[in-house]
Every structure is written in structure tokens, then in C-alpha cells.
């Protein structure tokens, strides 16, 4: 895979809207296959729609897709309970990773 694409896939070059869309697509295609997309809002409470195994799979997917490591203390409702919150969390994590790289 060309380098630029790889970076894009791991979230570095993605816009916040693209990140939110990626998360939404994953949730819909993996866990909510019977839900019409128009019936699912990015603000819907994932903790009511998904079970803990599914949330764990989501976290593992985020780590591999966006190239971040989610720490134990980051496993909170504020970070994970809706597509919007997950996307905002990923934007912050990707930003932190970039900063860390610059600092090096």
C-alpha cells in the first residue's frame, strides 16, 4: 500500500468528519446490520445498543484502524458511548500521537 494511503487509513490525514463517518460505518456494518441507517443517529447511546463484547471489539477496531492505544483509564462513557464521542476521542488521540511525534 502506498505510504500516503497507509497514513490516511491509520487516521493521521483524516478529517474529524471522515473519522466520525468511519466509526459510524463500522458500528452499522458490524453490530447493527438490521438497523436502517437513517434510524441510527451518531448521538445515539452505544451503551444501550451494544453489549460489552461489542464495545470491546469496537475498541480493538479503533486501535488498529487509527493506530492508537486506548488506555484502561480511557475506557469511559465520555469517550465511548456514542459515535460522536468515539470520533472526538479518536481526533484527540490522533492529535496526541502527532504531537508526540513532533516532540521527538
Amino acid at each position: 500500500m502506498p505510504r500516503a494511503n497507509r497514513a490516511r487509513n491509520r487516521g493521521t490525514m483524516m478529517t474529524p468528519i471522515e473519522i466520525e463517518d468511519r466509526v459510524r460505518q463500522f458500528v452499522l456494518a458490524t453490530f447493527l446490520v438490521d438497523t436502517p441507517p437513517e434510524a441510527f443517529q451518531n448521538s445515539d447511546d452505544l451503551f444501550l445498543l451494544l453489549d460489552s463484547l461489542q464495545i470491546l471489539r469496537l475498541v480493538i477496531h479503533l486501535e488498529s484502524t487509527f493506530g492508537v492505544k486506548v488506555q484502561q483509564q480511557e475506557l469511559t462513557a465520555d469517550n465511548l458511548s456514542s459515535v460522536q464521542k468515539v470520533a472526538a476521542f479518536m481526533v484527540r488521540k490522533i492529535g496526541d500521537r502527532r504531537l508526540a511525534r513532533v516532540a521527538k
Binding site: 438490521d34 451503551f47 444501550l48 445498543l49 451494544l50 453489549d51 460489552s52 463484547l53 461489542q54 464495545i55 470491546l56 475498541v59 480493538i60 488506555q71 484502561q72 483509564q73 475506557l75 469511559t76 462513557a77 465511548l80
Partner: protein, 370 residues
């Protein structure tokens, strides 16, 4: 227990035969601490009757008992010791039920299509109990198997069994959702790195009824020949080795540094053999919300498959929907007065994986007892 209470209420003279010294079955002795199948997707009681009475009795028994949301389902969180005390007291207080503990059904006396008596073995010796009707609630179709092994579906591939143990001394809500996912992930990472055995990949960790306790569920493969004498001991030994490895690993985590194992349950068998009944409940019935004229009870629990290699997966019913279990799937084929309830109902493995939870089991037992 539900069948006994219900038959007694209908005026029958009931004898409840229990191999263990105390009542409570898998919940009490394998440490089931989240009772499923009692509520629908909105958290409303699904079946009235004994299931509802059970909920009320448990809630009154101890303030730690509470209804809680678990993923997309609702469960009653209860300490297995409290469940044991409540159900034992309940059954013993019904004077129409004679409870014979430490007594095992070891044979059946059959005359053409009717069971005439059960052969029982107890510390006092062996004896015969004449009977008008028999309800097999052994969880593994022991009585039906004595009538004829051809009446029990014996699949080669069984759901993983479970060894559940409890650790106490953890900080409050150490593994509460979603924080607890971090512990599951750490266990899985350790398996990938090779510091925990492969079978530990599907370990499950859950909060208990009390804030300083954690329950750990180890999936244990159940071999096809598990009924044979030596197997249960061997299976349990392997599971105990897995338990030792998991405990050692957990105790290195800050949340578990002060914790210790306070109780280890007996190995639980999820599908020890469903009977061949007058109706076979299928996965399709579950998925499409089948209704029956002879409905025994309603169920809405997801199809909870415990694959020995892949771990647990859940297939949910549509929110607000339910299916029914017909009485015919609790009636053993070809034997006039023999019924089988709860985990050994007549169902394919997927339907059984939904129907086997505690709430449905109580309602099935009640319907047949009536």
C-alpha cells in the same frame, strides 16, 4: 423446583429428588450471579407467576439483589448463596412438597408407554418410588436418558461449559463496565504474548452483587463423552489449572493486588443433552418470534452461543419482541407421563442457547407442574 412448587399448588403430592445435599442447582453451585430471562428488552417482567414471585422473594431477601442492565439485556444480580437460601426455604415451606436430598434417580420402572416408578439411591440405601408423572429437571436429561438414550439428542459438539469463581477484596466496581473491558483486553493480550494459556482468551469478568467482588467465568470445553465417569474430574482439573493461571495474572494488576478467591463453583454444563420431545424448538422459532397455542412461557434472551474456541457470541431478538416455548417441547416423545424442562427441553442447540436462562427455566417448570 418451579415444577415442584407449581404441581403442589395444583394439588399434587410432589416428591422433589435432589442429588446434592441442598437445593439450588447450577445457580447455587456453579455460581451464576446474573439471572437472565426474567425481563424483556425494556426491563419489564416477561412472565408472571413463579418467575415474578422469585424476583420479589430475592429482592426482599437482601439489599444487594438488584435489577441491572447488562449490555442490551436486563438481569437480576444476585449472590448465589442468597439464591440458594431463598429457594431452599421456599420449597421446604410448602408442605405438599417432600424434598429428598442426597438422593439420586438411578433407574426407571417402565410399563409400555408409562413410567410406573423411579429407582432412587440415597445414603440410606436404594428404594423405589411409585409415580404418576415424572418431570426431569436435572439439566442434563438424566432421567430421560435412563428411560432410553435414544430420547436424548447427543450432539458431538457441545457449548463450552463454565467454571466460575469469585474473588473478593477488589476496590468498588473494579471491573464495572466499561472499565472492566480493560481487564478483558489485558487477559487477551497476555494470551497473544503467550503469558497465559490459549484457552484463557475467552475468559469473562463481571461485577458481583457486592461492590468488592468480581466473578470470573472460564469457558471449559466439554468432551462428547462427558457423561462417562472419569471425564468430569479430568475436565475440572484442566479448568482449575486455567483458574490458577488467571488468578496469578490478575493479582499482578492493581485492582486485584489485595483480592483472593473466595469461592470456586462446580463445573457447569450448558447443554448436557436436550430431549426428543413432541415439538423441536428451533433457531427459526426464536428468530421469528414464534407463538404457540400451547405456550408455556415467553422468552426474549439472545441466542448465547459459547463456542469452545471462539468464546461467547450473542444474537439478539428484535427489541420488544419475544418467542414462546410450547408445552409440546417439554413433553418427551412416546412416554405418556414424562416431561423434561429447563436446560434439557426439546430444542436445537441455538434455541436451547436462548431458552436455557434462569427466568425461562422457572416459567417452563411452572407450566409443566401446572
Amino acid at each position: 423446583m418451579a415444577a415442584a412448587l407449581s404441581a403442589a399448588r395444583s394439588g399434587a403430592q410432589v416428591c422433589l429428588i435432589e442429588a446434592r445435599p441442598r437445593l439450588g442447582g447450577t445457580v447455587a453451585f456453579s455460581l451464576i450471579h446474573t439471572l437472565g430471562g426474567l425481563y424483556d428488552s425494556a426491563g419489564v417482567l416477561l412472565n408472571a407467576g413463579l418467575a415474578e414471585e422469585l424476583v420479589v422473594a430475592l429482592l426482599q431477601a437482601d439489599s444487594s439483589v438488584r435489577k441491572r442492565r447488562m449490555g442490551r439485556t436486563w438481569v437480576l444480580s444476585v449472590c448465589p448463596d442468597i439464591y440458594q437460601a431463598v429457594v431452599q426455604g421456599w420449597v421446604e415451606s410448602d408442605r405438599r412438597v417432600t424434598v429428598l436430598t442426597e438422593t439420586r434417580v438411578v433407574g426407571v420402572v417402565r410399563q409400555s408407554d408409562t413410567i410406573r416408578a423411579l429407582e432412587l439411591s440415597s445414603p440410606a440405601g436404594e428404594f423405589r418410588l411409585p409415580t404418576k408423572a415424572v418431570i426431569d429437571a436435572t439439566g442434563t436429561a438424566e432421567v430421560v436418558n435412563l428411560v432410553s438414550s435414544s430420547l436424548v439428542q447427543n450432539e458431538d459438539r457441545r457449548a463450552a461449559g463454565g467454571l466460575i469463581f469469585r474473588m473478593r477484596g477488589t476496590p468498588p466496581d473494579a471491573v464495572a463496565f466499561p472499565k472492566g473491558l480493560g481487564i478483558l483486553r489485558a487477559i487477551r493480550d497476555a494470551v497473544v504474548e503467550g503469558s497465559l494459556p490459549r484457552q484463557c482468551a475467552n475468559v469473562w469478568v463481571d461485577t458481583g452483587a457486592r461492590s468488592d467482588e468480581v466473578y470470573i467465568k472460564l469457558p471449559v470445553p466439554i468432551p462428547a463423552n462427558w457423561r462417562e465417569q472419569q471425564e468430569p474430574a479430568e475436565v475440572t482439573r484442566d479448568a482449575l489449572e486455567m483458574q490458577a493461571a488467571v488468578v496469578e495474572f490478575l493479582r499482578r494488576m492493581p485492582e486485584f493486588a489485595q483480592a483472593s478467591v473466595s469461592r470456586t463453583g462446580e463445573l457447569g454444563v450448558r447443554d448436557g443433552g436436550q430431549v426428543r420431545g413432541e415439538y423441536l424448538l428451533t433457531a427459526d422459532d426464536v428468530r421469528c418470534g414464534a407463538m404457540f397455542a400451547d405456550a408455556a412461557c415467553r422468552c426474549t434472551w439472545p441466542i448465547e452461543s459459547w463456542d469452545p474456541e471462539e468464546g461467547v457470541s450473542l444474537e439478539y431478538l428484535q427489541d420488544g419482541s419475544y418467542y414462546e416455548i410450547p408445552l409440546r417441547s417439554l413433553k418427551v416423545r412416546g412416554v405418556r407421563n414424562l416431561w423434561a424442562v429447563e436446560k434439557c427441553l426439546s430444542a436445537d442447540r441455538y434455541a436451547q442457547a436462548s431458552a436455557r436462562v434462569v427466568g425461562s427455566c422457572w416459567s417452563m417448570g411452572e407450566a409443566v407442574g401446572r
